[in-house]
C-alpha cells in the first residue's frame, strides 16, 4: 500500500516536471538576470546592498544619472543653474513626467524627497553622507527645485545621483522607517510588477516613460544563494545574463558556445587592501583605542621593503586567476579621471627590499631567519588577520607569507570573524596587518577620507595614518569647484599616500559578467565600466531574431 502511494507520488512529480514550461507566441519579451543575492530592502532610505540600488536605478529617477564612463547626465531636469557663490542650485524639472500610478511628478515631490533624506538620520547613507551639505530645499510654482547648500561643493552630481525621487503622495502617509515599499511607485523606465523577497524582482517596461522606451517587456532579477548555481543557470539557459561569478568559473564560461564573457572595471569597484597599523601612539583614540601594533610598521622603510617584496602580478594570477590589474591606492582605475595613472608603482625587487631593511638596521641578530628590530627588542613577526568570509584573503595571505619570508619577515596568519575583526580594527588598532577592502563611491572623496586624521576616532581610518599635508589637501578638494584643479589635488593626494606606503593595494579586481548570445543582443560592453544590469543596457537590448 505504502509503496503504491510512493510510486504514484514519484510518477506525479515526474509528469508535472515534464509538462512544465511550454510557451505561446504572444508571450512578452522577458530578460532574465541571475543575481547572487537579493535586495535587502526596497525602502531606499534603509537599503545598503548594491542589489537594491540596481532595482532603484531602474524603477526610480534621480536628478542625475551616472554614465558608464564615470560622468553624469541630467535626468529629470531640463536645466541646472548654480549661483555665483556656488551655494544655490536651481533645477528646472521636466514637465509631463508621470509616476507609475499616473500622478504627475513635480518639483514638489523632488523637494519633499530631498527634505525627507535630509531629516531622517536613521537612513544610513542617504542622510549620513549624501545630504551632508544640504541646507534647505524648496520648490516654485514654475516646477523648479531650489537647493541651498551650506558650503559650495564640487561634486553635487555625485551626491544627488543616489537620492532617488519618491512620490510624496504615497510616502507622506507611511512610516518612513518601517515602510517596506514592496509595491514601489517610481517614475523610471521600469515598473515594479511582482516582488518576492529573496526569490525574484519582476519589472515591466514603463510605456509612459518620458525618455526612450525599453525594447523589452519585462526584466526579472532572480536570486541565487550561491554563485555556482548562477553559473549553471546561465549555462542551462535558465537566465540570460549574470553579473557575478567565481573567478574559477570564468574560464569554463569562456568556452561555452552561446555565452559571451565581459571583463572590465566594475561600476562600483571593490578595492582590496593590505592594511598596516601605523597609528602614532599620540593619536590613539581615547574611546576604545588599544593601539597594540608592531612598532616596526611605523617605520616607512619596513613598509617600503614589504612593498618591494610583493609580487602583485603573482597575486593577480593566483588569487584572481588573472582577472585584475595591479593596484596603487584606494582610488581604483574604475573611477576614471580621478585615478592617478601617472604613479610609478614600486618595482618588485627582493634584493632592493633586503637592502632597504639592512640599511635601516633591521638585521637577523639571533640567526633564526627572521629579522629583528634595530634595538633587538623583538623580531619582525607580524600578526596578519583577514575576515573569515573572504574567499580571496586566505590565498593572498599564503602568498604574502612566502614573498615576505624572502626578506626575513614572518607572519602569524589567522582568519577572524568579521565582527571580531571590526572590533580589532578600528578604532581599536589592535592588530599589525590586515587584509580587507572597501567599496568605492563614484566620487573619490569618500575613500580619500579614509586616509585622514579626522577618520581615526570614527573607525573609518584603518591604518591610523596621519599627515597634516594630506589632511589639508583633503579639505581643499572638498571645496575646490574647478574640476581640473580638484583633479590635480586628488592626484597629488594619491601620490602622497603611495609614497608613504600607507597601504599595499594588491590589485583592482575586474568585474566579470556574462550574457547569452542566443537570447538578446545590444548589451553595452564598450564603456569604461562593465555593468550589464545597468539601465543603459537594459534599455537598448533586443531579442535575437
Amino acid at each position: 500500500m505504502k509503496q503504491k502511494v510512493l510510486y504514484i507520488m514519484l510518477l506525479a512529480a515526474l509528469l508535472l516536471a515534464a509538462c512544465g514550461g511550454g510557451g505561446s507566441a504572444e508571450q512578452p519579451v522577458v530578460v532574465r538576470v541571475g543575481k547572487a543575492g537579493s535586495p535587502d530592502t526596497l525602502n531606499p532610505g534603509n537599503a545598503i546592498l548594491a542589489n537594491s540600488y540596481t532595482i532603484f536605478e531602474l524603477v526610480y529617477d534621480s536628478m542625475y544619472e551616472l554614465n558608464l564612463d564615470g560622468s553624469f547626465r541630467l535626468s529629470i531636469a531640463d536645466s541646472a543653474a548654480v549661483s555665483d557663490d556656488g551655494l544655490t542650485w536651481t533645477f528646472k524639472i521636466k514637465d509631463g513626467i508621470k509616476w507609475h500610478d499616473g500622478e504627475a511628478l513635480t518639483a514638489e515631490d523632488v523637494a519633499w524627497t530631498y527634505n525627507l533624506y535630509k531629516d531622517t538620520p536613521e537612513y544610513p547613507y542617504l542622510n549620513g553622507y549624501y545630504t551632508t551639505y544640504f541646507d534647505a530645499i524648496t520648490f516654485t510654482d514654475n516646477n523648479e527645485v531650489i537647493l541651498t547648500l551650506n558650503e559650495s561643493i564640487p561634486n553635487l552630481e555625485s551626491q544627488l545621483v543616489f537620492l532617488y525621487i519618491l512620490p510624496k503622495h504615497i510616502w507622506e502617509n507611511v512610516d518612513k522607517l518601517e515602510y517596506e515599499n514592496t509595491e514601489m511607485v517610481g517614475s523610471g523606465p521600469f515598473k515594479m510588477t511582482e516582488y518576492a523577497q529573496n526569490e525574484f524582482v519582476r519589472l515591466s517596461a514603463n510605456t509612459e516613460y518620458f525618455g526612450t522606451q525599453p525594447k523589452v517587456d519585462e526584466v526579472i532579477f532572480q536570486s541565487f544563494d550561491n554563485q555556482d548555481a548562477l553559473v549553471q543557470a546561465i549555462k542551462a539557459g535558465q537566465v540570460d545574463m549574470i553579473t557575478e561569478m567565481p573567478s574559477t568559473a570564468a574560464a569554463s564560461l569562456k568556452e561555452e558556445p552561446n555565452i559571451e564573457l565581459v571583463v572590465g572595471a566594475p561600476l562600483s569597484p571593490y578595492v582590496a587592501d593590505i592594511i598596516f597599523n601605523q597609528i602614532d601612539p599620540e593619536n590613539c583614540p581615547e574611546d576604545g583605542g588599544i593601539c597594540s601594533g608592531h612598532p616596526a610598521l611605523l617605520d616607512k622603510n619596513v613598509r617600503l621593503a614589504m612593498a618591494h617584496a610583493t609580487n602583485k602580478q603573482q597575486l593577480i594570477d593566483v588569487v584572481l586567476l588573472g582577472l585584475g590589474k595591479p593596484g596603487l591606492t584606494l582610488i581604483p582605475d574604475g573611477l576614471g579621471v580621478w585615478y592617478n595613472n601617472s604613479i610609478q608603482d614600486y618595482a618588485f625587487d627582493v634584493d632592493l627590499a633586503n637592502q632597504t631593511l639592512d640599511d635601516a638596521g633591521y638585521v637577523d641578530a639571533d640567526g633564526d631567519g627572521i629579522r629583528d628590530m634595530p634595538d633587538g627588542s623583538r623580531s619582525l613577526t607580524f600578526r596578519m588577520n583577514w575576515p573569515s568570509d573572504s574567499i580571496e584573503a586566505p590565498r593572498m595571505a599564503e602568498l604574502l607569507g612566502e614573498m615576505w619570508s624572502a626578506i626575513g619577515i614572518a607572519l602569524e596568519p589567522s582568519a577572524v570573524d568579521p565582527d571580531a575583526l571590526t572590533a580589532q580594527c578600528c578604532p581599536a588598532f589592535d592588530f599589525d596587518i590586515m587584509i580587507w577592502g572597501w567599496y568605492s563611491d563614484p566620487d573619490p572623496s569618500s575613500l580619500l577620507y579614509v586616509y585622514t586624521t579626522d577618520a581615526i576616532p570614527y573607525g573609518s581610518s584603518e591604518t591610523g595614518y596621519s599627515n597634516p599635508v594630506y589632511d589639508e589637501l583633503y579639505a581643499k578638494q572638498q571645496i575646490e569647484l574647478n574640476f581640473d584643479a580638484r583633479k590635480d589635488i586628488v592626484w597629488e593626494m594619491q601620490k602622497l599616500v603611495h609614497d608613504d606606503v600607507v597601504y599595499i593595494i594588491p590589485y583592482y579586481s575586474a568585474a566579470v559578467q556574462a550574457y547569452r548570445t542566443d537570447r538578446f543582443t545590444g548589451w553595452i560592453t564598450d564603456q569604461a565600466k562593465v555593468e550589464l544590469a545597468d539601465v543603459t543596457s537594459l534599455m537598448v537590448i533586443e531579442p535575437v531574431k
Partner: protein
C-alpha cells in the same frame, strides 16, 4: 491516569527548557564581539551620527541588562535603572507579545520573515521526510528479511554511502546534473509563473522541488534503512518470532503483525528527533538550491550578521527540537507501554 501525569510532567520540562533557551539565546548574541549596528556595513560614508541613529533604531543604545552596559567588552553600568529600559527585558517583553524584533538586514519584523520562510521549509522537509521514511523503511525491511544475502549487502553499502555523503557536495553534484537535463537550478518557482493557471504553478513548484527533495531523500534514506534493518534483525531473532514461525504463520504475517511494530520503535525516535534537527539541517540543501526557506534565511543572516534574525531562528529551531523530542517521548509511551512504568 498515570499517562496524563507523565504528559504533564514532560510538557513542563519542555517549557522549562524553552525558557532557558530564551535566556541563553539572548546573551549568546550579546557576548559576541563587534558592534551590531555596524555589522555588515563597513563604509567610510557611514558617519558617526548615522551609526548612533541606527543604534537607537535597533534599541542598542540601551544597557544590555541591569549593572551591565555591554557584555563584550564588559562594561559595568548602573544597577538601579528600570529593568524595562534594558535590552533583555524589552526582548523578553516583546517575546511575550510574539514579537522577535526587527531584522538588521531587511528591516522587517523577524517573525514575519520566519513565518514566510517556514512554510517553504516545511514543504521541502515534508516531501523529503515522507519519501525517505517510505524508501528507508521498505529498503530496511527487505535488507533485514534477506539478511546476509547480496541484496542485504547491496542495501547496506548503498545506505552507508548515502548517509555519509556530505549534503552540500551531493547537492552540487545533483545541481550540475539537473541543469543538463533541464531541471531548474534554483528557487521555488519560475518568476512570473503566478499569472499562470494554478495547475501550472503547482507543476512548476514540483519541478523546482525535485532536486532539493532528491538530495534530502538520498541523505536521510540511508540512515532510516540502516536503523530499520538492524532493529528488525534484532527483533527477528527474538523467541516470539520463532514461536510465530512454529505456529505456521507466513512471512507477511510475521513481519506485519509481530516484528514490525517492535522494530519501528527506534526508528520513531530517530524520525522525531530528525524532524526537529532538519529545520537546521536543510541549511545546506536550501543554500545550494536557493530554496527560499528557513535554512537559506539562516545562511543569509549569518553572512549579514543579522543578530535579531539569528536569534529568532535559533529560538524557532530550539523550540522545534524540544517539541520533536517531546513528541518522540509521548509517541513512545503510546507505542511501548513499558515506558509508562516509573
Amino acid at each position: 491516569m498515570n499517562r496524563t501525569r507523565i504528559i504533564l510532567r514532560k510538557s513542563a520540562w519542555a517549557i522549562f527548557t524553552i525558557f532557558i533557551v530564551i535566556i541563553f539565546n539572548f546573551f549568546l548574541f550579546r557576548v559576541l564581539p563587534g558592534d551590531p549596528a555596524r555589522a555588515g556595513i563597513r563604509d567610510p560614508r557611514l558617519k558617526k551620527e548615522a551609526i548612533e541613529a541606527l543604534q537607537v533604531k535597533f534599541g542598542l543604545d540601551k544597557p544590555v541588562i541591569n549593572c551591565f552596559e555591554t557584555l563584550n567588552p564588559i562594561k559595568l553600568g548602573s544597577c538601579t535603572i528600570n529593568p524595562m529600559e534594558t535590552q533583555f527585558f524589552i526582548y523578553a517583553g516583546n517575546l511575550v507579545k510574539g514579537e522577535l524584533g526587527i531584522s538588521y538586514h531587511t528591516n522587517r519584523p523577524v517573525a514575519d520573515v520566519l513565518a514566510e520562510r517556514l512554510w517553504n521549509t516545511i514543504l521541502l522537509i515534508g516531501a523529503g521526510q515522507i519519501l525517505s521514511i517510505l524508501l528507508g523503511v521498505v529498503l530496511g525491511i527487505v535488507a533485514a528479511w534477506k539478511a546476509r544475502t547480496s541484496v542485504d549487502y547491496g542495501a547496506v553499502t548503498a545506505s552507508l554511502i548515502a548517509w555519509s555523503l556530505p549534503t552540500f557536495w551531493l547537492g552540487i553534484i545533483l545541481l550540475f546534473w539537473g541543469s543538463t537535463v533541464g531541471l531548474p537550478v534554483g528557487g521555488k518557482a519560475t518568476p512570473g509563473i503566478s499569472t499562470y493557471p494554478l495547475i501550472q504553478q503547482w507543476a512548476d513548484i514540483a519541478k523546482h522541488m525535485f532536486l532539493p527533495t532528491l538530495t534530502y531523500t538520498i541523505v536521510y534514506m540511508g540512515e532510516y534503512t540502516l536503523i530499520m534493518r538492524s532493529s528488525l534483525i534484532d527483533v527477528l531473532s527474538e523467541d516470539y518470532i520463532l514461536t510465530a514461525r512454529a505456529k505456521g504463520l507466513n512471512s507477511t504475517q510475521i513481519l506485519r503483525d509481530h516484528a514490525l511494530k517492535n522494530a519501528m520503535l527506534p526508528l520513531v525516535t530517530v524520525i522525531a528527533i530528525n524532524l526537529g534537527f532538519t529545520v537546521a539541517g536543510v541549511i545546506q540543501i536550501e543554500s545550494v538550491f536557493s530554496w527560499p526557506g528557513l535554512g537559506s534565511a539562516i545562511f543569509e543572516a549569518v553572512i549579514r550578521r543579522d543578530f535579531p534574525m539569528l536569534q529568532g531562528a535559533f529560538l524557532l529551531i530550539a523550540v522545534t527540537v524540544i517539541l520533536a523530542n517531546l513528541l518522540a517521548d509521548l509517541t513512545y509511551t503510546f507505542l511501548d507501554p513499558r515506558v509508562n512504568v516509573e
